[in-house]
């Protein structure tokens, strides 16, 4: 670990992408640095006071020169911007069928749970060569989940879901840093990512206290906490059915239409009066304070699992 290096380990697909972009930036920076430093040094020597250099007909400006050294940076800027934006688009949007891990940040630790149910604290085990998507929220202040070796970082914001993804390309252990200042022990909110062979990862998932999968936990909560009492075919209350709902448009009573994404489902559980589905009454009680962040994520994972099949999976 003590070997001197200029760039962190390149352990994900985005690492290579971002390093190349950075190298291009360094080249352009050097170009501009030289094109400023070289003439300054040259002029400082040639036109030092008392030198014999020719100083006749000094120019005090030229629109042609001004326009050219305005245009060149603009063109380079637009090119760099575009490159950066395309790469950003790529690293900000998880691919479909990525492995899912749910993360809750709190002062000052990371609580993680894999879709299969395995839980970890301040550690994240992932398989080599497979895309992993993190769904993150915080139960107190803003944190940020930063893995330098993967070149990914995303703030973890209370009241909101954010996501981050990567595909590891190198076995090993890498730092996790909280990079958004979060209070006294901010610099202690660190951990490690362990990249494993897929087979070893599968084995790791089932060792120790594997527990039940997130979807099964969500289904259990759905039954135990009374959700199914109303959101069911045979319910005596008029509540929307939730099968097939996830990511579909929902008409609201105020005439708007929203997508039933994770944020909408979260708000509907905690602040049910905020957005009322058209044709329903505002009768659902709020679950604020009754469900932990992890439980809300499990419930949403369950609702997501019944997005395609219209009948809930067997327990």
């Amino acid at each position: 670990m003590d070997k001197f290096r200029l760039i962190p380990p390149q352990a994900s697909t985005s690492a290579h992408q971002i390093d190349w972009l950075f190298i291009a930036l360094v080249a352009i920076m050097l170009f501009f640095l030289i094109s400023v430093f070289f003439p300054i040094t040259w002029f400082a020597i040639k036109y030092r006071r008392g030198s014999n250099a020719n100083r006749s007909n000094p120019s005090h400006g030229s629109n042609l020169i001004e326009i050219s050294w305005t245009t060149l940076p603009v063109v380079l800027s637009v090119a760099l911007f575009s490159w950066g934006a395309v790469a950003y688009y790529h690293i900000e949007r998880p691919p479909p069928n990525a492995l899912e891990v749910q993360i809750v940040g709190k002062q000052w630790m990371w609580k993680l749970q894999h879709a299969e149910g395995k839980r970890e604290i301040n550690e994240l085990h992932v398989p080599l060569g497979q895309a992993v998507a993190l769904t993150m929220t915080s139960q107190d202040v803003i944190h940020s989940f930063f893995v330098p070796a993967f070149r990914v970082k995303q703030d973890v914001v209370p009241g909101k879901y954010t996501s981050e993804w990567f595909k590891a390309t190198q076995l090993g252990e890498y730092h996790i840093f909280c990079s958004q200042y979060c209070g006294t022990e901010h610099s202690g909110m660190i951990g490690r990512v362990v990249v494993m062979e897929p087979v070893a990862y599968q084995r790791w998932l089932t060792t120790g206290e594997a527990g039940e999968s997130i979807v099964v936990s969500g289904r259990r909560l759905f039954l135990d906490r009374g959700c199914s009492g109303c959101h069911a075919l045979n319910s005596k209350f008029h509540a929307p059915l939730l099968e097939g709902l996830f990511n579909k448009p929902v008409p609201l009573s105020n005439g708007e239409t929203v997508k039933a994404d994770q944020q909408f489902l979260r708000d509907s559980i905690l602040l049910p009066g905020k957005q009322i589905a058209a044709g329903y009454d505002n009768i659902m009680p709020s679950y604020t304070g009754q469900l932990s962040e992890e439980e809300i994520m499990q419930l949403i994972a369950y609702l997501k699992s019944i997005a395609d099949n219209r009948s809930p999976p067997p327990p």
């Binding site: 670990m1 950003y88 703030d155 958004q180 901010h186 610099s187």
Partner: protein
């Protein structure tokens, strides 16, 4: 003895001695200072005040650098460390950098540069200093009673709900300092509009005036947003009104939008005046009219305007929409262009000059070098995908210190050395001046260049303890900081020494062409013996004539 064509004024010239009847001798005693409405004296009051805050903030930085010598957090507790970087940030930003050039050099030279007797509202000017002192007292009160640990950014909901420190009193201090800024900004705008000497048309203004005009516009337009933001934060913290904390139904990202809507333009409040100083120094010490006057002047205005629409580049990983991120990224690239224009024009100004390397010029050249590096690394943090990696790491710390310290503080020191003979009537010792400028330049690079490397390697900012592989670069940085400290202490010593012992400067030791040099040093209370009449551009330098003069003297 003055070979430069003196087409700017028609006023009476002084003989070259210490002007005995001046603004310093016109009144004696503490009361004459505390009740003064003379812009020159108010500038000096500001100089002492910001010096106090600079020293406190520098001590905080020194303690941090000592702590970071080792990976473990062993010198101070985490809580103390967090308070140290908060104090450092708050004091340096609001109590040193923002007021530095405008309130000290701006107050002193704006009226003289435009041929006026004073600023438009002299009593308001004094009032703004009192506000500033009151603000500073609030900040110091918070510090003495235990400090604040939110970082200078006061991000919610940490600052509103979770922080256990004197957030309210510190925010109140910044709130009051903001009003001092606003009043100073209004005063400068009105002064520049209404008090220019006859013949001093807009495009004959020194570029320092253009820069401070642009700065004042930002001060007046952006600072109220900071006041509102801090007030909203205080309302949530004091009374639990849900604005930013999601537990109370608020939106923490809203705070960041509001905060950066002020704080990004504030970056330009800090750097634009520095650019103005550099334009004065480069022309004077290369004996050249500035290359592309209108482009340099207008680029200040372009920066002031564009600076208002790039705040979202602080939020690329905040969960702001990725499409908003793209707009802010593109605009951030564009705001770099007018800064580039300035650097290119300064460089071209040197062409066919007759260049000397006195202390102010060394600072000016240092500024160009460091500001260029700071500005170019700004392209990295404006590039979306790269910012994802370097955001909130030491890369960002290094980037903005190259702008704020390498740029702004170098410019402030350059300007202070340049106008010191005008302010005090005496010269600082040139040898020590040059030495300090070079030590500062070397120390600065040693301190902050390693931080670029640390940042790309992934070391997050605001870390009290860090993994051992980052130690070597941190040690280098701390070692550089000690050299930088020497670079800052030297001027403090020789400036004080020069007050009594420095050589008498005479009215115009640099043979500069600005109006402020066409009167005695130190200047009389009303600056000029008669109203100057301006007939030409501010930079009537002639390198060819300077060369001939030099040959004749040799």
């Amino acid at each position: 003895m003055n070979a430069t064509p003196n087409a700017t004024t028609t006023i009476v010239r002084h003989s070259g001695a210490y002007a005995l009847d001046n603004y310093l001798t016109s009144g004696q005693g503490v009361k004459s200072w505390l009740l003064t409405t003379d812009h020159k004296r108010i500038g000096i009051l500001y100089l002492w005040t910001i010096l106090v805050f600079f020293l406190i903030a520098a001590v905080a930085a020194a303690l941090m650098r000592i702590e970071l010598l080792t990976p473990a957090g062993d010198l101070v507790t985490s809580e103390t460390y967090n308070k140290l970087f908060t104090i450092h940030g708050v004091l340096m930003v609001w109590f040193f950098l923002i007021p530095s050039i405008p309130t000290v050099l701006g107050n002193f030279v704006i009226p003289m540069m435009i041929g006026a007797r004073d600023v438009a509202f002299p009593r308001l000017n004094l009032f703004s200093w009192y506000l500033f002192v009151a603000a500073g007292a609030l900040a110091l009160w918070s510090l003495i009673h235990g400090g604040v640990d939110t970082g200078w950014t006061f991000y919610t909901p940490y600052s509103t709900t979770y922080a256990n420190s004197h957030v309210i009193s510190m925010a109140a201090g910044i709130f009051v300092a903001g009003f001092s800024s606003i009043i100073t900004g209004i005063n400068f705008i009105v002064t520049i509009h209404k008090m220019r000497a006859p013949g001093l048309r807009w495009f004959r203004l020194p570029l320092f005036i253009w820069a401070l005009y642009a700065t004042s516009l930002i001060l007046v337009l952006a600072t109220p947003v900071l006041a509102i933001t801090l007030a909203l934060m205080s309302v949530e913290r004091l009374w639990g009104v849900g604005i930013f904390d999601p537990k109370l139904g608020g939106d923490p990202i809203l705070f960041q939008h509001l905060f950066w809507f002020y704080s990004h333009p504030a970056v330009y409040i800090m750097i634009l005046p520095g650019m103005g100083v550099i334009s004065e120094l480069i022309t004077c010490f290369s004996r050249k009219r500035v290359f592309g006057y209108a482009w340099v002047g207008c680029s200040s205005m372009a920066i002031a305007v564009l600076g208002f629409v790039v705040w979202g580049h602080h939020m690329f990983v905040s969960s702001q929409s990725i499409y908003a991120g793209m707009i802010f990224s593109l605009l951030s690239f564009l705001v770099a262009v007018p800064s580039g224009i300035k650097v290119f024009n300064w460089t071209a100004t040197l062409y066919k000059g007759s260049i000397t390397f006195q202390t102010p010029m060394l600072y000016a050249l240092g500024f160009i070098g460091l500001f260029t590096i700071g500005g170019l690394t700004g392209l990295c943090v404006a590039t979306l995908a790269v910012d994802v990696h370097v955001h909130d790491t030491y890369f960002v710390i290094a980037h903005f210190h190259y702008i704020m310290v390498g740029g702004m503080v170098m410019a402030f020191m350059g300007g202070l050395h340049y106008w010191w003979p005008k302010i005090t009537g005496r010269l600082y010792p040139e040898f020590w001046g040059k030495l300090a400028a070079m030590i500062t330049f070397i120390g600065f690079n040693l301190t902050f260049f390693p931080q670029f490397l640390l940042g790309y390697l992934g070391m997050p900012r605001r870390y009290h303890a860090y993994p051992p592989e980052f130690q070597m670069l941190n040690v280098l940085s701390s070692a550089g900081a000690s050299i930088l400290g020497v670079g800052y202490m030297l001027p403090l010593i020789y400036f004080l020494w020069s007050l009594k012992r420095g050589r008498v400067a005479g009215p115009n030791p640099w043979r500069a062409t600005g109006l402020e040099w066409q009167t005695g040093s130190p200047p009389p209370v009303h600056n000029f013996e008669g109203t100057p009449i301006v007939t030409a551009s501010p930079y009537m330098y002639d390198a060819e004539a300077d060369r001939e003069l030099h040959m004749a003297n040799a």
